[in-house]
């Protein structure tokens, strides 16, 4: 007969407001096999855990059910408490009374009854729990960082400076990300390139960092401490060892009219190109989709002019396999393009541009060398409108969220404009000014007070072209929703920050979760902001949600710290939830019939063969055998096995059947 202890938590009032906890404890106390039952205000608190520990010792409990919040929250807490009291931690289960009951139902007898049903189910399960011991796995102390924006750069440097090997994979020809495109940065107006490029160089020179640009993740297998990553290094069509980065090829290439990605289409590049002068590495790649040789089989000018003979037209993509212990995802974000706004001209007016395009105009390294000139005719705009929340906070655009950075960069843009075009007039249409952050509100004030930017509270309903001017129609809600119409030379959209295209596929490759907008999901919105739901994979920067630079860097250092913590161990303890093939005494040895259905189903190829031999060494039988180092505990094999010979520790057939029966039988 079991001696189960049941501990019902009020969670302050989170549970007790709708569930009669005393009643649940009382009913649970009468269940068969329950030796002790009580309720308490905060089971996870120190005194709460002490009650559990004391009762384990006093009553000699051989199983514990803590009925509180989700096991995804506190299962480790309570299992640890049990083990401190000498009870095997895997003899402790949690009944989820908060997320699955008290928070989703109103106060009623039925809610209390549901809580009782849940507790009874877990009591039955725990009766069939077995003591298990954690599994030790080695840790490969090398990290993979995906994405080389400021997030990936910071994370790589931190991990490398902690003394570990890092492979940084960037899909573009250079690292730097969006920060390299920015002109000056809020809230200090220091030049983006000036603070970024030294770090880019540090990455390239760091002895612990291997940089792979023009490369992407092809495949990721394995698990925490033991991932196997396949990286596709796209053919750059140059021999990087021979190329000195002289750039002669880029000046001679005849294909000159390719819209430059770095300049957001406001300038041109050649087919063989370095995306920007400070690029790291500073070596060109050939864009095969635009190169005359790849398109038409003729040209090879670059090959002729290259002084070191570095051009390789026959180069092919290369697949590199890496063994890494941790992955930091730092693939960043993007913004909506003008073509996504029918009300602002679908992108057909050249002088309606995005914030990123404005950054390029304002940047000294940009197509206008830092002068604000409109794309259509190169004239300096005398009047300019900035539209904040273009797309953001707009459910109709599918982006009900606030992109967080736009209020700030719009203030920055208006200021930069006023600093560069002294006689110019600037207007900002906004919904609210959200400038929470150190020195942020002061910054937007400066734009309004010192730089005389006209802030109008209201939305812009339409922008259209008339006689070479753009007409901006909106309302000023602070003036009783008075309609306003302004004739201007240029319009800048602070368009919503969005997830990178391809985020969904990337998340699926890595088995991490993503939200409704395809940003990657953190493991807990408050307490685990840089972890994902997959152990060993961490998030840094704007790939999780739009973020500014300080926040991005903080997240990146946070992710790096998590990696360093992981790498401080030589071995990891893993949950012993693994499959086991039964063994029994001769002559049967195992009920396994050797069909190996389980092996075909296992997503991790964790099931092999074992030969059972008699004393003379003759093979009598071949049965399945699980490699506990590879098994991840999904249990797919269990559902496949016809003879019920393979079972999953922690979720055995016995446990699951008793749960079903207990749930349905009061």
């Amino acid at each position: 007969m079991s001696k189960i202890g049941v501990f019902i938590c009020h969670c302050g009032e989170n549970i007790s407001a709708t569930v009669n906890c005393g009643k649940v404890a009382e009913v649970a106390g009468k269940l068969e096999g329950v030796a002790y039952s009580t309720d308490y205000k905060y089971m996870c608190s120190d005194p709460g855990q002490t009650i559990i520990k004391q009762m384990i010792k006093e009553k000699g409990l051989d199983g514990v059910v803590v009925a509180a919040c989700s096991p995804r929250m506190h299962e480790p807490t309570f299992r640890k408490a049990c083990s401190e009291a000498g009870l095997n931690p895997y003899l402790c289960e949690m009944a989820n009374l908060r997320e699955h009951c008290s928070w989703v139902h109103d106060k009623s007898d039925a809610t209390t009854q549901k809580a009782i049903d849940i507790v009874r189910t877990l009591v039955e399960k725990v009766k069939h729990n077995k003591p298990l011991s954690t599994i030790k796995v080695p840790v490969t102390k090398k990290a993979l960082v995906i994405g080389g924006g400021i997030a990936g750069i910071q994370a790589s440097l931190d991990i490398a400076n902690a003394g570990h090997q890092v492979v940084l994979v960037e899909k573009e020809p250079s690292i730097g990300g969006h920060m390299s495109q920015l002109s000056e940065t809020f809230p200090t107006l220091d030049c983006s390139q000036c603070i970024l490029t030294p770090r880019m160089v540090e990455v390239a020179q760091h002895p612990n960092i291997t940089l792979m640009t023009y490369a992407e993740l092809e495949k990721l297998d394995g698990f925490i401490g033991n991932f196997k990553a396949t990286i596709r290094k796209k053919a750059k069509s140059i021999d990087e060892k021979l190329c000195t980065g002289c750039g002669l090829c880029t000046t001679k290439c005849p294909t000159k009219k390719i819209p430059s990605e770095f300049n957001e289409g406001l300038g041109f590049r050649t087919a063989i190109y370095v995306p920007f002068p400070q690029a790291v590495p500073n070596k060109p790649v050939i864009d095969k989709l635009n190169c005359q040789y790849y398109l038409k089989g003729k040209c090879k000018v670059c090959e002729k002019v290259c002084p070191t003979g570095a051009i390789r037209f026959d180069q092919e993509d290369e697949l590199v396999e890496l063994e890494v212990g941790a992955v930091v995802v730092a693939t960043g974000f993007n913004i909506m393009t003008t073509s996504e706004f029918p009300e602002y001209g679908y992108g057909k007016y050249p002088d309606v541009i995005t914030g990123l395009q404005f950054e390029r105009l304002a940047s000294a390294s940009g197509p206008t060398l830092g002068e604000i000139r409109r794309p259509s005719d190169g004239k300096i705009p005398e009047k300019i409108v900035f539209i904040a929340c273009a797309g953001s906070r707009d459910p109709a655009k599918g982006k009900p969220y606030c992109s967080k950075i736009c209020c700030m960069y719009t203030a920055k843009h208006a200021m930069l404009y006023q600093h560069k075009v002294h006689h110019g007039e600037s207007y900002v249409f906004y919904m609210d000014i959200r400038a929470a952050g150190k020195n942020y509100d002061e910054f937007t004030r400066r734009a309004i007070v010192e730089d005389k930017v006209n802030y109008l509270r209201g939305r812009v309903s339409k922008v259209y072209e008339e006689n070479g001017k753009l007409i901006v129609k909106g309302v000023d809600t602070l003036l009783n929703a008075k309609p306003v119409e302004i004739e201007v030379d240029m319009v800048v959209l602070a368009s919503a920050g969005v997830a990178n295209p391809g985020s969904e596929e990337l998340a699926q490759k890595m088995h991490i979760s993503y939200d409704a907008y395809n940003f990657f999901s953190e493991a807990h919105p408050k307490l685990k902001p840089v972890e994902t739901n997959t152990a060993g994979i961490y998030l840094a920067g704007a790939c999780q949600a739009p973020k500014d630079i300080p926040e991005t860097v903080a997240a990146a250092s946070g992710a790096a710290a998590k990696v360093a913590i992981l790498f401080s161990q030589n071995e990891l303890s893993r949950e012993p939830v693994v499959a086991v093939v039964n063994r029994s005494a001769p002559p049967l040895y195992s009920t396994c019939v050797g069909c190996f259905m389980c092996a075909t189903a296992c997503p991790y190829s964790a099931i092999g063969e074992e030969e059972i031999k008699d004393r003379k060494g003759n093979v009598i039988k071949k049965v399945a055998k699980v490699n506990p180092g590879l098994c991840q505990g999904c249990g797919t094999c269990v559902a496949f096995c016809r003879s019920k010979s393979i079972d999953l520790d922690g979720y055995t057939n016995e446990q699951m059947y008793s749960e079903v029966m207990a749930l349905l039988n009061e």
Binding site: S70, P71, R72, N96, R98, E99, H100, W103, V104, H105, D106, S108, A110, T111, Q113, K114, D117, I118, T121, A507, Q508, H511, S513, Y514, D515, A516, S521, N533, T534, V577, A601, P603, Y604, Q632, G633, C634, G635, T636, V638, A639, F640, L648, G650, Y651, N653, M656, Y657, E659, V660, M661, L663, L664, N665
Partner: protein, 148 residues
């Protein structure tokens, strides 16, 4: 007469739907009390005989829910589950269990509102179908054929 309150068991995976149902709670979205959850590591672990067992023990309806295709924490457990589900439907016909008593769905860790929706629609559907009464037949089948 009071309204028929169906008993519904939800078989869900730990990574997507269990976490999604947690989010329903964190978001304080209310739903019907009739559904109780049993946590599995993966829908791939769900032996469909367990569903029959649930009917045999008096369930009126069942929800099976896990990660969306391609989102499985274990790569392909949910595909195996789906394939088994298709075969299992044939058996349901044989045993005379209306397939509408089983709601097979995908709810991700981010879809708190969808979980509430799945629960409420299932409860309404099972209310319309009425109580499941043939459990003796299923229990009998399990005992004779499946050795459970």
């Amino acid at each position: 007469m009071t309204e028929f309150e169906p008993k519904i068991v939800a078989f869900v995976c730990n990574w997507c739907t269990y976490a999604g149902a947690d989010l329903t709670g964190t978001s304080r979205i209310k739903y019907a009390q009739n559904v109780k959850i049993i946590r599995f590591p993966c829908t791939g672990r769900i032996d469909f005989m367990l569903l029959l067992k649930a009917f045999g023990e008096g369930a009126d309806g069942i929800i099976v829910s896990g990660c969306h295709p391609n989102d499985c924490h274990y790569t392909s457990g949910n595909f195996h589950a789906r394939r088994r589900w298709i075969m299992f439907r044939g058996l349901l016909d044989l045993l005379g269990i209306d397939v509408r008593r089983i709601q097979y769905s995908w709810v991700s860790a981010a879809e708190g509102a969808k979980w509430a929706d799945v629960v409420n629609t299932t409860v309404t559907a099972i209310r319309e179908l009425g109580p499941y009464t043939d459990y003796a037949k299923v229990a009998n089948y399990l005992e004779k054929e499946a050795n459970v």
